[in-house]
């Protein structure tokens, strides 16, 4: 399909991954942290699909992505369940409210 050089996509994916990582590290809202992880996983997916572009002999990257999407959905389900449980006890979704366990 495309004739665009691959590093466009790779750079975009890296940027996405980095954005997700930054969001994960600076935000304290549990929901946003979860979404940041989704961003990171999307960055990974884009990398895989992009690399599959130059190796069309099989669909290893595509299928890897496929599975990562499934994993991400499962992870989101468990994560949101935990967030709900946390909210139910604490009345908040702020990670820095999680201070009960300290040294």
């Amino acid at each position: 399909m495309t004739q665009l050089p691959l590093h466009y996509f790779l750079a975009l994916a890296a940027l996405l991954f980095a954005t997700g990582a930054v969001g994960f590290l600076i935000r304290r809202n549990l929901l946003v942290m979860l979404m940041s992880i989704e961003l990171m996983l999307n960055g990974v997916n884009l990398t895989l699909v992009a690399f599959n572009r130059i190796r069309p002999a099989n669909h290893a990257g595509h299928i890897f992505t496929f599975f990562i999407i499934a994993i991400a959905a499962a992870e989101a389900a468990v994560g949101l369940a935990l967030v709900l449980a946390f909210f139910r006890l604490r009345g908040s979704v702020r990670a820095d409210e999680a201070t009960l366990l300290k040294h």
């Binding site: 997700g20 992880i37 690399f51 290893a60 890897f64 599975f67 499962a74 992870e75 468990v78 999680a98």
Partner: protein
């Protein structure tokens, strides 16, 4: 018969179908209305069922070991996703052992702490399946699926006490950092795929050897990401922040499972990746590869974790930090793999075995110390244990000595073996650091003994009311016997570890 792929994957299948059976049992069994009766809770049959499932899994793994995985023609069909070799079988047995001990512990703990809900056992079983897949995986894809299966189950187990803020908080922290680490690992894996065009570990290794020169930068980035992700998973300092919180918040059987099975699986992952992917001479050399990074991590992990552990006031949290420190000791063995022909990898495997039985035993003892919905967590809770329950105190002492690495216990032999590997690889400073660290560790283990033997219990302390559970007691006895057995006659298990290590090189 041996050409069927189902035979080769039998241990995983046994555990997985056992888990399904357990779920069905839980759903179909009619229980009298919840009277709070210990005998009628889900644990009453599920704990034993899980134990039997895990024991069967271990026995199947053992029989495959005896048959010899190279004789299993069917194993090829699972390649490259699942590798059936002695390394895999060793870990399958080890993980089944850890999970079996956890199941026994849960059988006593959950009813006692009014957590007796049936989901725990399927979670435990399927986490174990994930861990076994992780240990068996020869491909990045199955590796991540195994990792996530294991992790998702464990997150839920940590947050199992959903009415408790501690438990949920621990689970949240563990979940967030675990997912973050998984994302790092995945990105590293994606870059490796990009460089090599392969996702199976062997293929990546071969491709790296032949063509990687041009893309050294990418490979290095991938290596760094993967190392960081692995460090999270084995909770090496400075990636350890989640460990104490998750360990403390989780119900004790879940803590034990994390400390033994998850850690073993994480080290299986480390060995698979470091040897399988970055096992070439260049990556393994002191100057250009991962050994110095891991050596630094090991030194930091041991020292920092031990220093913090000494300051803890909660035994459970102390055990959490101590388990971080043990990860540091094991890392010394991993670094020692730079010396080919050295049985460093076998020492890591043996240490994991010794560590599994010891830690499971220590947590089982801790479970027994608590009662009536209150866990024994602080040192004070253990005061005077030796007077009230001398046998329990003796068993706890045995496990503490094993953790401290005092003879004639499993922990001692494990440490000796790692020290031998470390010195053989010329890591003199690191090895001496390990040994000095074990002195620091001895300090806080001794503290537990001081409280058990030399302090009088406060009136009304938890130990005053014993918890009685045949399940936990049998877990305790089983691990105590294994600790002594591995300490006094380790020859067989040494051979087993060696054979397992030979398979992964």
């Amino acid at each position: 018969m041996t050409d069927s792929v189902f035979v080769a994957l039998a241990p995983i299948l046994v555990v997985a179908f056992g888990g399904l059976g357990l779920m069905l049992t839980e759903v179909l069994s009619r229980r009298p209305a919840r009277e709070g009766n210990h005998e009628s809770g889900p644990s009453s049959d599920l704990a034993l069922g899980t134990f039997v499932t895990m024991a069967t899994g271990a026995v199947v793994a053992l029989s495959l070991w005896l048959v010899g995985p190279e004789n299993l023609a069917g194993a090829k069909a699972a390649l490259p996703f699942l590798v059936v070799d002695r390394f895999t079988l060793f870990f399958e047995g080890l993980l089944c052992l850890g999970a079996a001990l956890t199941a026994l512990m849960a059988g006593g703990y959950l009813p006692e702490h009014k957590l007796d809900r049936g989901e725990f056992y399927p979670l435990l079983t399927f986490s174990t399946v994930g861990a076994m897949v992780l240990a068996a995986s020869g491909d990045l894809l199955s590796l991540f699926i195994g990792l996530e299966t294991m992790s998702l189950g464990v997150y839920a187990m940590v947050g199992f006490r959903r009415g408790s803020l501690r438990s949920t908080e621990g689970a949240i922290k563990y979940f967030l950092l675990g997912s973050f680490a998984a994302a790092l690992l995945l990105y590293g894996g994606a870059l490796l795929y990009g460089v090599t065009g392969k996702t199976d570990l062997a293929g990546i290794a071969v491709a790296l050897k032949t063509t990687a020169g041009a893309d050294l930068g990418l490979v290095l980035v991938a290596m760094v990401l993967i190392l960081a992700g692995l460090a999270f998973k084995i909770s090496a300092v400075p990636f350890h922040m989640w460990t104490p919180d998750a360990y403390e918040g989780a119900p004790t059987p879940a803590t034990s499972f994390m400390a033994v099975a998850v850690k073993s699986a994480a080290f299986a992952l480390v060995l698979r990746v470091l040897i399988g992917v970055f096992g070439d001479a260049e990556s393994m050399s002191w100057a250009t590869g991962w050994p110095p990074v891991l050596a630094l991590l090991a030194a930091l992990t041991m020292t920092v974790a031990n220093l913090i552990a000494g300051r803890q006031e909660s035994v459970k949290r102390m055990l959490a930090y101590s388990s971080i420190a043990h990860a540091g000791y094991i890392l010394v063995g991993v670094v020692a793999m730079i010396e080919p022909g050295n049985d460093a990898q076998a020492s890591v495997l043996f240490y994991l075995l010794a560590y599994t039985v010891t830690t499971a035993g220590a947590f089982a003892a801790l479970v027994l110390c608590g009662s009536r919905g209150k866990e024994a967590v602080s040192y004070e809770d253990l005061a005077g244990l030796a007077k009230r329950h001398p046998a329990l105190a003796l068993a706890f002492t045995l496990f503490l000595f094993s953790l401290a690495g005092a003879p004639p216990t499993a922990g001692f032999f494990g440490k000796l073996y790692i020290v031998r590997a470390g010195l053989g690889a010329g890591l003199n400073t690191l090895t001496v650091l390990l040994l000095l660290n074990s002195v620091i560790a001895a300090y806080y283990y001794l503290r537990v003994m001081v409280f058990m033997y030399m302090r009088e219990p406060a009136p009304g302390a938890v130990v005053a009311v014993p918890m009685r559970s045949g399940y936990v007691t049998s877990a305790l006895v089983l691990s105590a016997v294994l600790v002594l057995l591995l300490g006094l006659w380790p020859a067989t298990s040494l051979h087993v570890a060696l054979d397992a290590a030979m398979a992964n090189r």
